[in-house]
Symmetry: C2
Subunit: 123 residues, 2 copies
DNA sequence: CAATCCTCTGAACAGGTGTTCAGTGGTAAC
DNA sequence: GTTACCACTGAACACCTGTTCAGAGGATTG
């Protein structure tokens, strides 16, 4: 995990010979490790079919954990674990009401994201 | 939302009692396992910082494997393995030219996707 | 307060993921 | 043909992920 911003030696290449000009041109535009990490964690939250099912259920309406579990046919514990992941990426909101905790979609970014991806996959 | 006397349930619920009406309403809209799987695989391809770096490099210009390796500071073998993943989701194109194989971004869906996510993360 | 319900948590285990290493195939240069 | 280079592949290994199981915390009901 080292930063890529050092101008002195931008290539530290003991590697084989490559197209130096191309590499030097592209390298400063490469996503920083930090940003790449954050973005990867976000996509990672969406990279599980069960979590996607949960989101698609929440896209319909707010639901509590046990309803979610029934809707996607998972154990309640498993659902709880997965919701933790979705929460960590701010994909869902939750509010407590009595004994239940109701979850919902965090915002509409996710739906438009969904549509983008669905479009890509239909090709 | 009031509970109603449950009609014979289409939910195969040996589970605990939940809000049957909610579940029945939502369940048919839940993403099918097949679609959820495909979508998860797509997001999974984007869920690694190194792959995101590769894509950000390719967003600049077409590059061959060894240039990519130098640009993101990975081994060439590792890059090759990761490009395989990106190829499987049609995120990149490739064409052979002499001894080199040049990779590029497959289409612009990905960039707009990138921007969506970047917007979500800046909150 | 005792009992019950809903949700969350931690540990343990199976399965998946990404890297390195060694080796192969294909292309160009000599 | 031989050599060198570029890219790909498979195996092995460490690491991460998601499930289940058992149990704890919080809130409501009687």
């Amino acid at each position: 995990m080292q930063a890529v911003d050092a101008p002195s030696c931008d290539l530290s290449c003991d590697e084989s010979l490559v197209h130096l000009d191309n590499v030097r041109q592209v390298q400063p535009e490469v996503l920083s490790t930090e940003k790449a990490q954050r973005m990867a964690e976000f996509f990672s939250a969406l990279s599980d079919p069960h979590r996607l099912k949960l989101l698609s259920a929440l896209a319909q309406q707010e639901l509590c954990v046990c309803d979610l579990a029934a809707a996607v046919k998972m154990g309640e514990s498993a659902v709880s674990h997965q919701l933790r992941v979705l929460r960590s990426q701010r994909l869902v909101t939750y509010r407590r009401q009595g004994r239940n905790v109701y979850y919902g979609l965090a915002d509409d970014h996710i739906m438009s994201l969904y549509r983008e991806v669905a479009a890509h996959l239909d090709e």
